[in-house]
Amino acid sequence: MQLTIKYFGMLAEATTINEEHLQTEVCSVSQLIKKLKNQYPKLDNADFKVAIDQQLVDQSHIINSEVEVALLPPFAGG
């Protein structure tokens, strides 16, 4: 199945893209993160939350359909 992955803030800088499509089997959020960190080593040190179809989810959430995955980092600036 095909996922749409969206990167925000410094995560978009770490991957050098705002958005991409990714082919994957059914997996948990943590398995997906592991895969993305392998692909983009600069993500390894980053802290972020994951939203599936605009809803924040836990790392144990299972991705079993073609959804939009957003990686949301915290921002400090003001």
């Binding site: 969206k6 939350k49 939203a51 924040l56 400090a76 600036g77």
Partner: protein, 367 residues
């Protein structure tokens, strides 16, 4: 308050606001933490709209590098405290309001009494330590928190702790690793971005006061000013995160948020390094019966269990090195000392056992 004041004519003629809405604005009390990139537009619009009591918290002074985005200040404000400089401009904009300035740093010690005097808190801070501090103080005092944060060309907006909604900790339970998220000072920011995000925060404040529209609680708004894209994400309240803050409310005043966010770290030194430090005071936090005694360091002996009661007996100005038997309890002691204003402190890896092993070899070196 005269609701027919021509100053507010254009908003009072909106049927959704009217003179009743203007009275609500006049009665409202809003505290803005940080009068920087976000705080400036928030303050400007709240003042213009006639929010009756506005508090400004900022200990920093206006620098020339602030002027490209902190629109309340001019060349005349350089070097002036931001809360004071902001009040000068805002008083000119609308002299009919009460504007309180707080020029000291927001701390766990002053936050609760300060927040209690206001209805709504606005987060315009620029670091995680203060963001978690503001969030927790809002949970404890039961105040809604209008949140905004920026990174280069992107911004976040949300309303936390409103009508039983989620808090900042429900979104980000733990702070990111220290130094992993750069600040505007480190990586720069487009001046208009905090203008947009701060204006949205001001809008949320006005909606809460006026009970208008849909307040942005339970949602995180992400905005990218380069792609002009807005994205919304649903955040649920995580009861355990909120209760954690409420359950430890009695310890809030002594919480060190710099330590929590990793800005300040537990400093660990080896027995040899400790032994060679000149003019340090040593604190042995073991129980009195524990052996071996390390007499050559002339330690002050205060068992960990009574350390909190005995803090006044330890001079703060001296470099302080703490040890226990093996280096585990001394870490705990260091946290207590850090939370109580001790700065130049460290603990010994391996504790008394490590000291005992190396001291016979080093005693001549020290002389």
């Amino acid at each position: 308050m005269n609701s027919f004041n021509p100053r507010y004519h254009r908003q009072v003629i909106l049927p959704e606001i009217g003179s009743a809405g203007q009275e609500k604005l006049d009665a409202a009390k809003v505290l803005v933490i940080g009068a920087g990139g976000l705080g400036c537009p928030v303050l400007q619009y709240l003042t213009a709209a006639g929010v009756g009591t506005i508090g400004i918290v900022d200990f920093d002074t206006v620098d020339i590098s602030n002027l490209h985005r902190q629109i309340l200040y001019g060349t005349d404000s350089l070097g002036t405290n931001k809360a004071v400089a902001a009040k000068q401009r805002l008083t000119d904009l609308n002299p009919t309001l009460t504007i309180n300035t707080y020029t000291e740093k927001l701390t766990p010690k002053n936050a609760i009494s300060l927040f209690s005097e206001y209805d709504i808190i606005v987060d315009g801070t620029d670091n995680f330590s203060t963001r978690y501090l503001v969030n927790d103080a809002c949970i404890i005092t039961g105040k809604p928190l209008v949140y905004g944060a920026i990174f280069k060309f992107e911004g976040q907006v949300s309303v936390f702790n409103y009508q039983n909604g989620p808090s900042y900790r429900c979104l980000f339970p733990e702070p990111p690793k220290a130094g992993s998220v750069p600040s505007c000072a480190e990586i720069g920011v487009l001046g208009v971005l905090p203008g947009i995000i701060g204006s949205m925060q001001a809008n949320e404040v006005l909606k809460i006061i006026l009970n208008l529209g849909d307040v942005l609680n339970g949602k995180l708004l992400m905005y990218n000013c380069l792609t002009t894209q807005f994205s919304f994400f649903t955040i649920n309240r995580v009861t355990s995160e909120v209760s954690k803050v409420l359950d430890s409310a009695n310890r809030f005043e002594t919480t060190d948020y710099d330590l929590f966010c990793g800005v300040k770290q537990i400093s660990e030194i080896t027995a040899k390094e400790a032994f060679l430090v000149k003019n340090a005071q040593f604190i042995d936090i073991r129980e009195t019966h524990e052996q071996p005694k390390i007499e050559s360091l002339h330690p002050i002996c205060i068992p960990l269990g009574i350390l909190k009661q005995e803090l006044d007996t330890i001079p703060k100005e001296k470099e302080t090195i703490v040890f226990c038997q093996s280096g585990i309890r001394s870490k705990k002691a260091l946290e207590i000392l850090l939370q109580n204003g001790f700065e130049n402190i460290s603990h010994i890896k391996g504790g008394a056992i490590a000291l005992h092993e190396i001291i016979p070899d080093l005693i001549d070196l020290k002389k």
